[in-house]
C-alpha cells in the first residue's frame, strides 16, 4: 500500500461530520448557523457525504477532470464599450445606498465598519 493510500482511506472513513467541522465550514461560508442547524447539518451532511463517497470506488487514474463541457468554442470577443447600468440603476436595489451628492458623486453602497 502506498503511503498516501492509507491517509486517503482515513479521510473517507471520517466523512462523518463533527460539530466543530460544521462550525468551521459555516465560518468559511459566511453563515451564522444556530444550534439546531448545526446539529441537523452535522447529521445530514454526514449522510450525504457517506453516499457521495461512492465516487471513491471509481478508478480515475489518468482521467482528466471535466469542469466545462464546452471546450471547442472560444469565448473571446472584441473588447468594446457598450451601454451599462447608470450609478442610479446600480444602486436602486441596494439595502443601504448613500445617494448621489457633491461629497459622494454617483452615490455609494454603505456598509458597517470593516475594521473592528
Amino acid at each position: 500500500m502506498a503511503p498516501g493510500t492509507f491517509l486517503c482511506m482515513l479521510a473517507f472513513a471520517m466523512a462523518v461530520f463533527t460539530r466543530e467541522q460544521v462550525h468551521a465550514i459555516a465560518a468559511l461560508a459566511n453563515l451564522e448557523l444556530d444550534e439546531a442547524e448545526i446539529e441537523l447539518f452535522t447529521r445530514q451532511l454526514g449522510d450525504i457525504l457517506a453516499y457521495a463517497d461512492e465516487v471513491q470506488k471509481v478508478d480515475t487514474r489518468g482521467i482528466p477532470p471535466t469542469a466545462s463541457v464546452l471546450t471547442r468554442y472560444p469565448a473571446d470577443r472584441p473588447d468594446r464599450v457598450r451601454p451599462s447600468l447608470s450609478p442610479q440603476e446600480a444602486l436602486a436595489n441596494a439595502p443601504d445606498p448613500a445617494p448621489d451628492s457633491q461629497a459622494k458623486p454617483g452615490g455609494l453602497f454603505r456598509v458597517p465598519r470593516v475594521i473592528g
Binding site: F41, I48, A52, V55, T66, L70, A92
Partner: protein, 485 residues
Amino acid sequence: MNPPATVRDIRDTVRGRSRSASEVCRTALDRLEAVEPSLHAFNTITRAQALARAAEIDGAFDRWRDQPLVGVPIALKDNLCTKGVRTTASSRMLEAYLPPYDATVVAKLEAAGAIVIGKTNCDEFAMGSSNENSAFGPAHNPWALDRTPGGSSGGSAAAVAAGITPLAFGSDTGGSIRQPAAMCGVVGLKPTYGRVSRYGLIAFGSSLDQIGPLTRTVHDAALTLGVIAGADEADATSVPEAVPDYAAALTGDLRGTRVGVPARLLEQGVDPEVAGAFEASLATLASRGATLVDMDLPHARYATAVYYLVATAEASSNLARYDGVRYGYRDDGGHDTLHMMYARTRERGFGPEVKRRIMLGTYVLSAGYYEAYYLKAQQVRTLILRDYEQAFERADVVAMPTSPVPAFTLGERIADPLQMYLGDVFTVSANLTGLPAISVPCGFTRGQLPIGLQLTGRRFDEATLLRIADAYERDTDWWKQAPAR
C-alpha cells in the same frame, strides 16, 4: 372535455384574428386567478403589464402578425430576470429585488410576440425536486393537490398542466424542467448546454444550468426552442451553432432510428407502474419503426453522487454574491462589523436547503478535501461523458423514465434530503454531460398520476431528439389528458 389549447392553437387564433391578443390574455389571467388559490403556482402576477402589452400588439397588429409567438400568454420561472418586475428565485434574499434588465430569453420571447402573465413559484434558487423549498410555500400538483408538482420548476409545470398558459419556462440544473414536466404530465425540454443564453438567469450551477420550455406538445417545444436558441454576446457559454427549423424536423418518421435502453441502470428503485409505462413506451417506439438497442452506461450509476458534489461546489461559489451590500436582503440588526452583517444576512436570507448546499459545496472545495471530492467528481464526470459518447455510436437517443417515481405527497420526503436527491438519478446525467434531453408524457398510474418518458440526444442535435419525441407523441394521447378543473 377538450384539452387546453396549445401554443400553435393560440398563435394561429390570434394571427387569424378570430380572437384578439387582449381576449386571449384576459382568458389566461382569469384562469390563473381561478385556480391559483389551490395551486400556488405563481409568485407574481403581472396582470396590468400583460394587458397593456396585449393591447399594444392588437393596436399595431400588422407589425406583430408574423411573429412566431404572437399573442401567446407565457409564464416565467421566478429566477429569470424581468426588468422592473420582482424576481425572487423564491428566496427571502431577493424578495423585493427588481432587476434592472431582462434576461436574454425574456427579450427574445417578447420580441416574438409572447406576453408574460406572471413569475412562477420554484424551489429557492432552483435547489430542490419538489418546490417545497420555496420561501413562499410550495406549489401544488394540478393532478392531485396534496402532491408536489415536482421541482424545481414546479410552478411552471403546474401552470401548463392546469391550462393557465400553453407555455412556461424553467431552468434545469439537475432535472428541474424535466422532472416537474413528468410529474405534471407535460413536455419539458432541456436544450444542449450552450444552446440558449443564460444571461439573466439567476445562477445556481454555472456548468450545468440551462433554460428551456414546458409545453403541452413536442411541436410547441420545437417552435419555442427556435425562438430562444442562439449565441449571445452576454453569455460566453452560449455557442454559435446553427439553429435549424426545429418544427420542420418533426417528420413523424422513425425508420432507421435507434433507441438506446440502459437496462442495467433501470434495474433498481423504479416504481413498478413507472417501469410498466416505460416498457410500453419502448414498444410504441418500436412499432413505429425504431430499433431498440440494449446498452450499458457503466458510470451513470455514480451520476447522482457526482452531481451533488459538482452542483453544490458551483452553488457555494455563485451564492457568495448574496452579502447584503449591493442588492437583496440585509439583516438590520445593528452589526458591529461588516463580517457580522454578512453572516447574519445569509443566515436569515437563505432557507435550509440552500444553506445545506452552500455548506456541502464549501466543504468539497475546501483545502484538504478538494482533491478527494470535487476533483474526483470532475474525473468521474469525464467517464460519464465518455459513456454517452460511446452510447451515441450505437443509438440516436437514450431512453429512460424521467423520474423513478410519480409525484409524491407534500411533506413526504422533505425531512430526508438524501432521499430527495436520489430521485434525480435519471435526470442529472444530461446536465453533467451537457446533452439535450426531453420528458414527454407516457402514461398514468392507477391513481391517475402522470408518468414521463425521458429521451437524451446528441450534443446540439435537438432536431433528432424532438423528431423522435414527436413521433412517439403522435401514437399516444397521454398529452391530451388534463386534470379535472
